[in-house]
């Protein structure tokens, strides 16, 4: 397509252009999709694309076989992923040198390459077709399906798949009030954490008069969560379309995408998307001849977790220090530049086109009564199939972790799952059958959060984990409220005392008491939820805290002050590997004779433990 394409001025023109794109797309149904998400790119998927291009050129297939560098395909653990269309054959852990073979064998000869197909780590069964994989089978990929087939830099791909149809419908057939009504009826709840009704927010903003703003919150700060990044990298136009529809519904004429700078690829993709949409006239003045127009700005974060909190985010968009402020007044009354402002999360906005296109009723058919639609989780940690999963709200944790996630790595025992990032909590095995919806998770002391789901096995120490989150928050708190700043630092002090073996039962009680006070007395969501990791680990794993305190032992073998390494003489063959690798020169011994660890010298890094081939090192 040439860059001088005229702007689309009406719905008819849009559908005419869409037919053209669809024809182009259909004509090229033989193509190879290579995952271009950060995860797979980090494993060299760009080189795979290069190798494919070269290979197609050599064989003179460039005209008949397409190559698409797509967004996240989901199964990040097995990256880089490659899917051959139209059969949808999925190859995993592909290296650039595999590409000629894929082209020759699969594309030309129609044969499946056995060594590249996915093998289930627990059952050992092989799967050649993407849709057959247990990982994908149980998912409902409404938002992520676009990732599979579209090149995120090409608006043509998105439009050919039905993209921007919802925008056309909204601005040419519906009034803003009707759009709001539809979203309200769909019971779309904010996917960023609190689960506030998005329709209600829009309605209130629509009713306000004067200059208004709509902000897309892409400051995904929860560690272990990357849903928003993958949406922006894989399908930026879906988010943009949601934002424009939101602006239409709230009558905001200025939109801002606030995105964190830790996601450079996502920043590039959304920038490109905005420019392409501008060129086609889908962003700008008088969209599709409706008289409605919107300007969209990009605001790049400067690195502060607290800016995910909406009032801090607004301070940051304004260029100030990201300190949350007292609500009320709420942001829809007085937000950015003291004007009514709606802030929606990336995933929330990506849901909007689906609602408008299929109608509220159809949308509500997925999920539960109070939590409708799907939710994307980033399933990470000690689980076999690390990746991005999209499931109907209300699916149980067990289904997600064991059926989709394929269970725990290396056949170890499940210990806990952490949801909701630093504001969430850890849930033990007894809650595996809990449905994942907003209320259920909050009720048991965790929360939905933005959708990070970190699975932990027997090797994770809960006291250490609580300390990890507190350390994170001590650093990320803005420091304004005394109870948050000093409270978190004191909570951390107490937890560290316990993990160093200096704890007492009195301190455990004090920890609980202080945690409740911090929760109760802090201004913003960060401080109010900061004690959750401590409170939930004490609630469900108090025994582990007690073992640390009373027996000076760390059952998971994590807390350094409480563990020791020793070489079992009869197992050691004196290979010297541990001695060579020990960074603190704590290991002595002659070749081919049992070695010995000097406990005073040892700083318990565990390198010897992981390098020993004879399991001669004992961790206690």
């Amino acid at each position: 397509m040439d860059l001088e394409a005229p702007k689309i001025k009406s719905a008819e023109e849009f559908f005419y252009i869409q037919r053209n794109y669809q024809k182009q797309y259909r004509d090229n149904n033989r193509f190879i999709a290579i995952c271009g998400d950060t995860g797979c790119t980090a494993r060299n998927s760009k080189a795979i694309l290069g190798s494919l291009d070269r290979c197609l050129k050599e064989k003179d297939l460039s005209e008949t076989v397409g190559a698409r560098f797509t967004g996240c395909l989901g199964l990040c653990e097995s990256g880089p992923l490659v899917i051959v269309y139209p059969e949808e054959i999925l190859y995993h852990r592909v290296i650039p040198d595999d590409m000629p073979e894929i082209v020759e064998e699969t594309v030309q000869a129609g044969r499946i390459i056995d060594r590249l197909i996915y093998r289930d780590p627990s059952s050992g069964e092989k799967y050649a077709y993407a849709r057959g994989l247990p990982f994908y089978k149980k998912q409902v990929r409404n938002l992520l399906s676009g990732n599979w087939k579209t090149d995120p830099t090409k608006i043509e791909d998105y439009i050919a798949q039905g993209g921007y149809e919802a925008l056309v419908k909204a601005v040419t057939e519906m009034s803003p009030g009707e759009v709001v009504q539809e979203v309200k009826e769909a019971r779309l709840r904010g996917r960023g954490g609190a689960g506030f009704d998005a329709g209600l927010k829009w309605e209130e903003c629509f009713k306000a008069s004067g200059r208004k703003f709509i902000i897309c919150n892409a400051d995904e700060g929860d560690p272990g969560a990357f849903m928003d990044r993958s949406l922006l990298e894989g399908n930026p136009h879906a988010v943009l379309e949601g934002l424009i529809i939101g602006a239409y519904a709230t009558d905001a004429r200025e939109g801002v995408v606030y995105i964190r700078s830790e996601y450079p690829t996502a920043v590039e993709k959304i920038k490109t998307a905005i420019n392409r949409a501008k060129e086609l006239g889908l962003v700008g003045d008088d969209i599709l001849g409706s008289g409605f127009g919107i300007q969209i700005y990009l605001s790049i974060g400067a690195g502060a977790f607290v800016c995910g909190e909406t009032s801090a985010l607004i301070a940051s968009v304004d260029g100030r220090v990201g300190e949350p402020v007292q609500k009320p007044p709420r942001l829809v009354q007085q937000g950015y530049l003291d004007r009514p402002t709606v802030v929606n999360n990336v995933e929330t906005l990506a849901n909007v086109p689906h609602i408008i296109k299929q109608g509220a009723e159809n949308y509500r058919a997925t999920g539960t009564e109070a939590s409708s639609g799907t939710k994307i989780f980033s399933l990470v940690g000690k689980v076999n199939n690390t990746g991005l999963v999209e499931v109907p709200l209300g699916m149980t944790l067990r289904e997600i972790i064991f059926e989709i996630g394929g269970g725990i790595k290396e056949g170890k025992a499940f210990k806990a799952v952490q949801t909701g990032g630093p504001s969430g909590g850890c849930l033990p095995a007894s809650y595996l059958d809990l449905p994942t919806d907003f209320e259920s998770l909050t009720e048991v002391g965790s929360m939905m959060g933005s959708g990070g789901m970190i699975v932990m096995d027997e090797d994770t120490c809960m006291v250490d984990l609580a300390g990890y989150f507190l350390k994170f928050l001590a650093d990320e708190s803005c420091g304004c409220c005394f109870t948050c700043r000093e409270g978190i630092s004191r909570l951390l002090e107490l937890v560290q005392n316990i993990s160093c073996g200096r704890g007492s039962l009195d301190q455990l009680d004090l920890l609980k008491e202080l945690a409740e006070v911090v929760k109760d007395s802090t201004l913003c969501g960060l401080g109010q939820t900061a004690p959750n990791p401590v409170l939930s680990t004490i609630k469900y794993f108090e025994d582990e805290y007690r073992v640390h305190i009373l027996q000076n032992k760390c059952p998971a073998g994590v807390c350094r002050a409480l563990i020791t390494f020793e070489i079992i003489e009869s197992y050691c063959n004196g290979c010297g590997l541990c001695k060579k690798n020990c960074p603190s020169d704590a290991i002595t011994g002659e070749q081919k004779k049992p070695h010995y660890i000097d406990k005073d010298q040892c700083d318990k890094c565990g390198i010897c433990f992981s390098t020993c081939r004879n399991e001669a090192i004992l961790k206690q």
Binding site: Q326, P328, S477, C480, F482, R485, D506, S521
Partner: protein, 186 residues
């Protein structure tokens, strides 16, 4: 006028008033460390907490920043408020044990022991001096630097500020360190 209930009393207040304004006007005893009538409220010290909302769904908010709103049910001296406040004072006492103001607060609210390890901070980051410098002196020589547990108050690049006129207002308004505070040093 806004109608609300405070400690069971039905009262009318002007729009724009904060809960702290209302409470102090009606004589409720609410301690503060970061509040001054002449400066904009900041809500940093968290001592002025009050409980709002119906029992069962109530929560604590800082009264100095929370606006009076229609039909709000405010309680200034519930067990929850008092216990939370006591713990906050204990934290203050552990952080700045040598401050006279904090010692007085502790004795007034019956905080007799400190269960945390003592620190020897000289600043509680209430931000009164920062607001004083900006709002009353129109200088803006000092401000908050860094964040989280590392937050402190200083001049830009920690050296003498061109904006500082050595007026001493920052030292005057400091609730904690009083005489020890040297102001923005050169």
């Amino acid at each position: 006028m806004i109608n609300l209930t405070m400690d069971g009393l039905k009262i009318n207040v002007e729009p724009g008033a904060t809960l702290l304004d209302v409470a102090r006007f009606y004589g409720a005893n609410i301690p503060t460390l970061c509040y001054d009538e002449a400066l904009s409220p900041y809500g940093a010290c968290r001592l002025c907490l009050v409980e709002i909302g119906e029992p069962g769904k109530s929560r604590l908010v800082s009264s100095c920043t929370y606006p009076a709103r229609e039909k709000l049910n405010v309680r200034t001296n519930t067990v929850r408020v008092m216990q939370t406040r006591k713990m906050i004072i204990e934290l203050y006492l552990a952080t700045c044990p040598s401050s006279k103001t904090i010692q007085d607060l502790a004795s007034k609210y019956g905080v007799t022991g400190v269960r945390f390890s003592p620190k020897n901070e000289e600043c509680i980051l209430c931000g009164l001096c920062v607001r004083m410098c900006e709002e009353q002196m129109q200088a803006k020589a000092i401000g908050f630097v860094d964040r989280g547990v590392n937050r402190r108050i200083s001049t830009a690049f920690d050296r003498k500020s061109e904006q500082c006129r050595l007026c001493g207002a920052c030292m005057y308004i400091c609730p904690v360190c009083q005489v020890r505070c040297q102001g923005p040093s050169g």
